[in-house]
Amino acid sequence: MLKYVIKRIISMIPVLLGVIVIVFTLMYVSPGDPAALKLGTEATPEAIAQLRAEMGLDRPYLVQLGDYILGVITRFDLGESYRTGAEVSAEIVGRIGITLKLAFISMAVGSVLGIALGILSAVKQYSFIDKIMTVFALFGISTPSFWLALMLILAFSVNLGWLPASGSYGLRYWILPCATLGYQAAGIIMRMTRSSMLESIRQDFVTTARAKGQTEGKIIVRHVLRKALIPIITAIGNQFCYLLGGAVLVESVFSLPGLGKYLVDGISNLDFPAVTSSVLVIALISVVVMLVLDILYSFVDPRIKATYQGDALFKARKKALKEGGEVAHDSKQ
């Protein structure tokens, strides 16, 4: 298991390097000059050239890319923002909390709502409730987050005046952004819970449990839901990564000073270090979340743990055979 985790961590390195190269290159080839943009229309060509030199933009592409990668690897240095002049790492640390808070609360809202409604929908399959739930989920899945955000602002800020439309100064300010992202996540998690539950609910062990006289509630929660949990966990994990991406739009609409808004501001100002580093951090969080999920599977479903152990056992046997020794029949022997 430990070896598997180490292997996964090592495999993250090329993924993250790939992310850096792709994002940096996209920013590099995008039209516009960060120096000219920063200085505005009143800048003289000489001033632009001077600033380009100060920002290191007059160096060849490979030198700039190599310098950035080297800084990240050797000094954990994410560079200096072209727009603000501050250390990107400090700016990201100051903003990531907002984005994680948004993603966590939205995920919690989405998970609780999605799983509860998914169970209800599966148990009452083809009923009126099931149909209502299906419409609810499809609406969530197919609605773009920025549109939903604007509709919520229109309803709850403009018309009803109950909630603020932007900012992050207290609990009230978080309700609309989290509802926007949480509803979308709920839709997907609900669909996944429903289909996964329906698959399990018809299996023999459920009939056996019923024959033993277990109550329906216990059967659903202890047997069916547990069996159905793996795809649901996968969906939740995927949703968390999706929420980090979705935060880009939602933070911009609600003026939340998180990583997503920082990324958008960075793109608008051709701030290479800010954009590359923001995407790098989002990618890092995503791969770590996926790793944690993989580990979590083995605790939810013992068969997966056995697969890891089986893999280790198989290698041990192969090694023993090569060395001509005795083959162990059980890893504990």
Binding site: S30, P31, G32, D33, A35, L37, K38, L39, G40, T41, E42, A43, T44, P45, A47, I48, Q50, L51, S81, R83, T84, A86, A90, E91, V93, G94, R95, I96, G97, I98, L100, K101, F104, I105, I153, S157, V158, G161, P164, A165, S166, G167, S168, Y169, G170, S252, V253, S255, L256, P257, K261, Y262, D265, I267, S268, N269, L296, F299, V300, P302
Partner: protein, 524 residues
Amino acid sequence: MKTKRFLAMLLAVVTILGCLAGCASSNGGGGNNTLDPGADIGEIRSSKDTLIVGTPQDPANFDPNDNAIQMVWAFKKNIYETLVTLDNEGNIVPMLAESWEYSDDYMELTFHLRQGVIFHNGEEMTAEDVLFSYQRASEMANASPSFTMVDWDNTRIVDEYTIVIATKQVYMPQLNYLAFPLTAIFSKKAYEESGGDFFKAPIGTGPYKVANYISGDTYELEAHDQYWEEGKPYIQHVIFRVITEATNRTIELETGGVDLIYEAPASDIERLSSNEDVVVYRDTSLNTNFILFRCDHAPFDNQLLRQAVAYAVDIPTAIETAYKGTGVVATGWCSPSISGYADIGVYEQDLDKARELMAEAGYPDGFSCTLYTDTTAERRDLAEILQNQLGEIGIDCKVESMEPVAYQGMYARGEHDFMLYGLTITTAEGDKAFRWWHSENTMGQQFDAWSDPEYDALLDEAAATIDEDARNELYRQAQEMLKEACVVIPTVHREILSAASASLMGFENDLGYESPLLKNCYFA
């Protein structure tokens, strides 16, 4: 059982991490002082000792010599001040300098500084601070154009409260350049002692000083209690909230989240005007929007075709529709508030004349071209209206709308046939207004690649002409040349649109820099 326990623990850890992550947000990015995001702004505001401003632009940093965006100055002008400033009639009036005079040969400007001006750190401002601030500004890319003509060898401190700024030649616009917000004065001593961190806690002479901030979100200023203008500022705290979405600024004003918004969207002006709890402030700015031709490649290297376009379009109708009743139809090549403006008349729609010019230029059946615009709603609408109008005389005009970043890249490379753009003449005088078309434009980028040695000579002569009437006559001739060559077609003088709660008194738009001062504001 073990698995269940592990899962329970894992969930608990994830929840705690989530909460910690949320708490971590209280540490503002890039800032050492922070505003507690948990603080309920509504409660502070109820005391009416706090003014909350919704601004579209993140100031990004506190460096007075950085950033050429007006909305950034709107923030920084509360912290820093200049020696002189522009009033709303376009006149230069005293600020940190009480008076000034020219030497007999007009090569030197002597400033007598106001005594008893105290920086935010309690030190008094002297001529040393002025010289230090100017020298630093002259090395900064954004601020340096204000000092292009300064003769540093002869610029000197006379005494603690007197400084002489010398120019390399007679250069009358120099005084206006020293009213530019990018030439603001800051404390030399504090800068030298800061060890490079000066702009994290800047020391200026403005009516407000930086208290707390969350980078990119909220900037809290508090009154400078030793401010030189007695009794001001009236409001103790000002909080700037960065709200980039224009509609959200309107909603926040309507729902009481902010007291004042800058750059109110044109589409919301009618609604805001009908709200009795809100006052809309509309003033014509020093900005003029143009249709800019690229004169170094076909088709618009042909003056006749440029004039044909000018006669083909109905600018007043197009502006009325695209700008939704905001903005003033352009009457000349700069705003009428700028000294040097001449009322020489603009092109008016005359389709027969346009067709004649097309035929004379060898294009009787029309031609194809591309009109570029950025994604500003008004400009995009204007481009589409112009496209239709040009179609009437057979010009097949394609409209290309680009994101600001791509737009900047496009016009910097000179790829456009013609484009929509606006220029704000922040010095409120003719030299800057017309130097855009000087072939050695020292003020900024060339959009048009047009040059005429006679025009260049006129402008150079005007900048060195001491008599104002004689200078304005030269500028009038320059405008006649621009009209004849049809390098640009003026479209609209943009309006500065702000809106505030009806209880906010003393507010007015600042025409020159579009950066209103809040020191005069108070709640009724």
